[in-house]
Subunit: 351 residues, 4 copies
């Protein structure tokens, strides 16, 4: 049995990790870390876990934890892990970090978008960006996984095949993303109250959302060059789910023609037919967030707009599963040589 | 492997059966019955099942089905199964009926409340009311299971210990129940449109809801006499979940005193401490539907009101799981001698 | 023009007062009081008011306010107004208090349920309980109005005719009330976050909710004796609306028979046919909260249950309008001799 | 008093017309047309109107109606009005058509996108596109108003100043629009059931939505040339509200520089400072649909993205008010020389 510890176990992503790991045959949670609820029964914080989890929340203690467990999941605020992580800890245990601290290779970019000083830049290089479908082999060798953001996972996987194959001009990429409210976390803020979110939709963080450089970096690798995208997130009155609607101009082929819908479709199948957790929907079917709720799936599809020579790509996932905890477990499975889908055979719940 | 067939596989309860059975290690679904979607891919009707279910919907054919499978689940309108079920079919296969056709022993009561003529009254006697926590041993011996209604499962289990122990006067029982909208089914009716249900709550079926005689019959067995209750259902703007708030006057003990809160609590523990799927919450904690969502749990608790010598009991469940498909699978497990929780170790999803 | 001041203008009830008074022809808001947002533009706190309200929030100053305005609305926490109100202030201005401070005549009852010491008990006697339909004439003469609670307005008006006429036994009254989330206020609490409330229903404050003694006192006046009721509130995932489902045993008439449904209906019409804001729905129609949303209406109806000799009464209102700000304005209209419906001709918004 | 008739009074847009006209001082509704509910009490179809509307639904009879009323509102399916409207009717009464039949000047474009043959193309020319803020003077002279679509009103007004001033390249315009579910109408379809829409978001009609050519035509007039845009609508789990997020590349000025944020802001103020119903929000404030709910406002704002030389524009409105019935009444006011805001001084309701 793999012994796992969670720091930040009482946030929504942490709680989802608990939900998933309870169904994972090879893992045992040994440490429910929560600075806010130290010494309180975990099940009193998440009553859904009543009679399922008997443990009490523990304070953070990364060093002690490193001695006790095989893998640490950190579902913590930005800047927390980078302030305390050391090479010594990484020599004792694997770390899957759900925060953004090690996602961006260029420390200046990180510091600019996050407005934080990075305290352990020397560890950034070895961190592997844990988007399993793209970095699978690197993940298997890693000690430190930078688990991708929810918006980024959705945004990248939706456009990846077309960027990789050069079928779209990546600098024309516009990502209009919509997220359920669990993405905003469990902090008690007026803006996240039921009456403020319900019956309402808004954009936020326009031109400034921190997932932007992460998308640019990863899709830049796919494009083979630096790229710039527009990314606009929206808050939707639902608990879970992200939909990314992405717009890009088709890139002309050497002969001056545009790639056909068939060519685009073939690109999606090329990259995703072997991927259990990415489903390329049938032609004409638009992804809906409800179809992936509670599961680790990403559903993707696209429509070509002949009139404008653009393609509209669409992708959905559950922000707490493939967008956070599910992907973290998928990374853990790779790290420990387990079947990649262990604990993740979650059938989407509808309705 | 148990071979299972579902008639009515494209209703919400049928779809939940599919979701649960896909995670059941000992069962294989051989027949996706749906009169409305014959020859259509099941996954095109429920896109959450894309790449998970490859089958096509089949027309209803109970006799053929009886030859092919070990157990048939019928998630069909009232009156359907009773019109076609025969002893011969029951000699070939087990049947778990999610409709109300065999729940009520007195055929006149059935016909009065359902306004239908019962076409196979001779089979009522042998049918076992599949409330596993109460009828476990009988279920194991049965061929035909009358799977309880969603409201009834919640209403009965919430009050059962106090009725059984004689701590409340059952004729004072008033059940105010609240249900998510999936209980209304997938039929295209104006009253179930998003804009009609959202931001709205109402009572319906006041004094006439068909689950009333079912509750009265079962709690009457517990009370050892015929009883009459008031039952009022309400429609709540959420997908899943039932909350039953139940009011009853405490019954004086022989010495003229009222039973204490401790005695009531002991009664709940007496009946439910061995029950995996019934959770007696800690004192002071009110059940919330969200804490059982997606799972087979029933959460119960109560508060004594000294001023009025009443007790307020509360119970919650997921109407599609313990209120329908989950309980059906629990019954199937009992019928086939499997571990009762096989396929039902579903951790509630929050948020 | 009546000059009005609001203390607590940035809570949901205060904001609803602003919405209603902006459409009131005879009133001008002179003071937007908000301790939390002093010196901030009111429209920056409630962006729906952009270009409609130019004012800035002011700190609380009851004495200064009393000199400037004709009527003060206090939408403040319990205990606030009773701590600062004086007879001198009441000699300068009218006060409509939306808190509970002067609703309960027996100061001991108030202090027990609210767990507060009442600092101005000498003013309780002169305060008029502002349930206009019942106390209209007293309201007209008052200086200090205790504006009723949201649950209480709904609970009382739903049962009043039957209690007043002696058609039900008031001690059997059980009120199961369901409220939208705006009733919980705009405070930043985890329990009121979108993801905690959405897709969820629960009871709360079971046997201890503070509106209980208020209901008992007022319905006690109607019954002509002290009564005890059970009152259980529930939180519903919607912004606005209260539904009270009320159960009571019919009281036998002197001849030993039970009152008929026709007699009950006649009682409702007797008390409400002249009341603009109470609508007695047609037989068989169950009230829905959505039908009164945004308006000052209370919709009521009932069903007799022959089997149990009970009556199930149902009433709905918008908790922010007839349950708070609308009723406050109705009281103000009476206080100043204006048409009672001025500013309140709000057509319910559907959907 | 203006006598008004409504054809299609029992759809959501028709019902909203009723709500608004009930508060309009100069209008009286004489005809509640509804083919589906002939001879039924209007208030039985919309119980919110109980005691407010006493009328019964009437069958459609355009000629009779033209004799009886001063203005006819048609909230009917596409193709209905164009099949029966004649010049003679227009000589007797004004017509405000909420369908798309007369919105598009090029009949071929209409027939291509709507897949309908237009039966009265001779009337298209005289119809005035009723976007009051842009066509105010023409509306005043008209007999036949083509009331704009909900998405189109929002999409056009959000981008209009920048297109008109040449600050953006209109062919780069990408409109990602999100709508509440009332826009889908009151038809009983599985796709609009509560459980299908709730907790879900999806794009639909991708590259084929019929509001596309309407947006292109009107913004083309503003640009002074034919333009092509991408328009993608989404269904959001809320009753009311549209948010349009619009992306466009800034157009270089003759000197090769890009227009500044200040210049863009000045453009918005130039066109909208005199417009009561368009609110240009303060810098940094993103529009939210809830802030305009129930009102005739359009809220707009924008953010310049320096990195990409794009501007992200955002606009919100209530699809049933400014997106349908409110704008229809605004047009009626102009047609009859009434104050433009009569009946439309609706304060947005929050929460």
């Amino acid at each position: 049995m793999i012994k796992a510890g969670i720091i930040g176990a009482t946030g929504y992503a942490g709680a989802e990790l608990v939900r998933i790991l309870l169904g994972h045959k090879e893992t045992e949670i040994k440490w429910y870390g929560s600075r806010s609820y130290v010494d309180q029964s975990y099940a009193s914080v998440y009553q859904n876990m009543f009679e399922l989890v008997e443990d009490t929340c523990l304070d953070d203690n990364l060093e002690e934890l490193a001695r006790q467990v095989d893998v640490i999941f950190t579902a913590t605020p930005q800047g927390y892990l980078s302030g305390i992580l050391t090479g010594e800890i990484l020599s004792q245990t694997k770390v899957v970090d759900l925060s953004a601290d090690y996602r961006i290779k260029d420390v200046k970019t990180y510091e600019k978008w996050y407005k934080l000083e990075h305290k352990s830049p020397q560890l950034i290089e070895e961190a592997v960006y844990g988007l399993c479908e793209i970095n699978r082999e690197k993940v298997k060798q890693a000690r430190l996984i930078a688990n991708p953001g929810c918006y980024t996972t959705c945004s990248i996987l939706t456009a990846y095949p077309l960027v990789r194959e050069g079928f779209i001009d990546p600098d024309t990429l516009i990502i209009d993303a919509k997220s359920g409210t669990s993405g905003a976390g469990r902090g008690a803020k007026v803006g996240n109250l039921f009456c403020e979110v319900n019956e309402n939709i808004k954009a936020y963080g326009v031109t400034t959302h921190r997932h932007t450089p992460e998308i640019e970096e990863q899709l830049g690798y796919a494009a083979g060059k630096e790229i710039t995208v527009s990314f606009t997130p929206h808050l939707v009155p639902m608990n879970r789910g992200i939909l990314a609607t992405e717009y890009a101009s088709l890139a002309k082929k050497p002969d001056g023609s545009y790639p056909s819908a068939e060519e685009l479709r073939a690109a999606y199948h090329k990259y995703y037919d072997q991927e259990k957790f990415v489903r390329v929907l049938k032609e004409g079917v638009c992804p809906e967030t409800k179809w992936v709720e509670g599961s680790n799936y990403v559903d993707v599809n696209f429509v070509v707009e002949e009139r404008t020579h653009r393609v509209i790509m669409m992708g959905t996932l559950d922000n707490l599963v493939k967008g956070a905890a599910g992907q973290a477990v998928q990374n853990m499975n790779l790290l420990f040589g387990l079947p990649e889908a262990e604990g993740l055979e979650l059938v989407p719940m509808f309705p």
